[in-house]
Subunit: 353 residues, 2 copies
Amino acid sequence: MHDASSDNDGTGSRAPRGRSRATGRATLADVAALAGVSPITASRVVAGKTTVRPELAERVRAAVAQLGYRPDPSARALASAKSRHVVVLIPLLSNTLFTELLEAVQDVMWDAGYPIFVGITQYKPEREAALLDSYLSHRPAGLILTGFDRSEAQRRLIEASDTPCVHVMELSDAPDVHCVGFSQIKAAQAVARHLLDRGRRRIAFVGAQLDPRTLERAEGFRSVLQAAGCHDPRLEILDSRPSSAALGAEAFRRLVETHPDLDAVFFCNDDLAHGGLLEALRLGVPVPDRVSVVGFNDLPGNAQMLPALSSLRTPRREVGDAAARMLLRLMRGEPVDAPAVDLGFELKIRASS
Amino acid sequence: MHDASSDNDGTGSRAPRGRSRATGRATLADVAALAGVSPITASRVVAGKTTVRPELAERVRAAVAQLGYRPDPSARALASAKSRHVVVLIPLLSNTLFTELLEAVQDVMWDAGYPIFVGITQYKPEREAALLDSYLSHRPAGLILTGFDRSEAQRRLIEASDTPCVHVMELSDAPDVHCVGFSQIKAAQAVARHLLDRGRRRIAFVGAQLDPRTLERAEGFRSVLQAAGCHDPRLEILDSRPSSAALGAEAFRRLVETHPDLDAVFFCNDDLAHGGLLEALRLGVPVPDRVSVVGFNDLPGNAQMLPALSSLRTPRREVGDAAARMLLRLMRGEPVDAPAVDLGFELKIRASS
DNA sequence: CTGAAAGCGCTTACAG
DNA sequence: CTGAAAGCGCTTACAG
C-alpha cells in the first residue's frame, strides 16, 4: 500500500497545501520555481525592473503566463509600505462636473494600473478629514483633492504621510503645491464682462452651496460690476442649499418680482440656470430680450434649452486627465514641468444672452 | 562615556528602528506591549471579538487610544486572505440613477468600516470582465454588481472567488442569487397602462443605450400595448447611443414629423424626456393636450419642466441602501430574509400626461 | 546581473 | 480566556 498523499510529494508549492493557509493561487515562488530563478529575480521582472538578463526575464514572463500569476496587492503593500491605490476626494457625485472629472482620472489611472478609491466629502470639512484619516492608513500611492479648503492639521497630516498629492479645480501659486485647474475668479469675470458687453447693467448673481469656488465666482463677478459702476448687492442671491433646478427657478422668480428692472442673471451653475430659464418661460419673461441668462460649467443639455443656454465651459475632463498624469509623474519621482497648470475656460455664447 | 544609542534600549519596538523597514507607526505589538498582553489578545480586542476578559480588553483599548494605533489594512488582508474592500461595478457615472445608488451604498459601507472601490463598466462586457478580474485579485470582502448581463465565465470567476455578491437594479428568482431591485418590465407596464387610461392609443416608445434594463422596459411597454391592440412597431425608437437630452429632442421631432397622429411618448429616461419636452415647446406641440409625455426614473428637475414631467420613480437610493445591508449580512455570514428584494416603484403623475 | 535572509504587520490554527 | 509559533506573499537592503 502506498501513501495516497505522496502523489504530490516533491512538486513543491504547486501542490495543494492541505491545512495550510495558502490560497491556492499561484505565488511568486511558484513562478520562480517554474522559471528556475530565485523569487527576487521573478519579483524584479514582474515589477518591470530592467536589471534582469533578457533570457531569464523571458522565462519568468512565460511562467507568469502559464500559471496565470497575479501579484497579491496586499503582500506588495505590506512589503513595500506603499499600496497601488490612488485616492480621489470630491464633494459629491450629483454634479456632472465631478463625475466627468472622476471618469477622466479613472481612465488614466486604470491604464497605469492604479485602482482608485473615491471619497465623497459632501462639502463637509469634518467628513473630508475623516476620509483622509481613513484612506491614508492604506498608504495610498497618490492623492487627488478638490480645492484647498482644509485645515492646517489636515495639511500637515498629508505632508507627514509623504503621499504625492495634486489639487484640482483651483489654482495656487505656492511653489510646493501641485494643482490643475483654472481661475474661478477670471472665469466669472469673463461672464460678467460678456453681459456688460451686451449692454446689461442690472445684472444679478445667483450662487448655491457656497463652497469656496462659488464664492470666488461671486468675487470675480462683483469686481467687474464694481469697476463698471453698476454693482448692486441686492441683486446677489447667495443660498447655502445645494444647487438644483428648483433653487434656480425660485431665485429667478424672486429676482424678477423684487427687481422688475433686472436685465441679466448669472447663475453660477447650469442646473440653477436651467431652473431659471424654465421659470422665465413659465412667467412669460422673454429671454434674452428682457433678461439675459448665463450659466456656468456648460454641462450637457444646454443646447436643448429654450432658448439655448449660454454658459462658461470648464475643462473638467482635461483637468482630471492632466491631474492624473501629473500625479503619475510625482508617484514615479519624475519631474513635472510646472507645479500649477492653468487649463483656462471658454465662453459658450448661445441664444440666452 | 555611555553609548548614546542605549537610551532606548529595552523599550522594544517603540524606539526608532534605524535602518529597518518599519514605518514608525504604532503596530499591534506596540499596543500589546503597552497593555501588557500578547499581540494575539490585542488583535482579538481590535477585531471586536468578545472572548477577551473585559479588564484586558479595556487595557488594550486604552493602549490603542494612547498610541493612536490604526490597523494596517494590507497586513490584515495578507494574514486573513480577505481585504475590507467592497467593490461596486456600475455602468457609468453620468446617470444620476447610479450616482444616487452609489452614494447610498457608500454611506452604509463607510459606517460599517468598508471603503468601496468603484468600477465604471461603460456598459461594455469586456470592460466589466477586466475590472472584475483586476478587483478580484484584491480579494474584496464583497461585490455589488449592476444587473445580470455577464458571461458564464465571469459568473464562474465570481463563484470561484467565493466573494459575497449582491446584484442591483434587476430581479432574479434563482434561489442562490442575491439581488435588490424592482421589475423593469412591470414598471414600464405601469407607464403604458397609465397612458392607455388617459385615452392615448398612438403611443411611442423612445429608448437609448439599449442596455438590458432598457430592453426590458421596451418589452413591458410592448406587452401592454399589444394586449390593448394598439401596438405599432413604427412608434418604437431604439437608439444605441447614450441617453441625452439632445437624443430625446431628436427622437421627438422625428416622431411628430413622421407620425402626426401621435398622442403620447414614453421616454425610458428622464433626460430623453427633458429633451423631448423642450423640443415640443420649440415646435409648438401642446403637451399634454396633443401629446402626453412620460419619463422614467424621476430624477431631480422634473417638477421644474414645462409642463412638469410625469415619470416613474425608481427607488435607487433604497436599492443602494438595501443592497449594502444585505451584502454586509452575507459578508458576516448572517442569514438574509430573502435572496431577492423587490423594492417596487411609484408612478409620479404631473402635468405632462 | 543574481540570490539567501530577513522582515513588513497582522491573523490563523493549535494548544493549554 | 490567553499565548507562542508559524505563516500570509511579497520587497528591501545587503552581499557577491
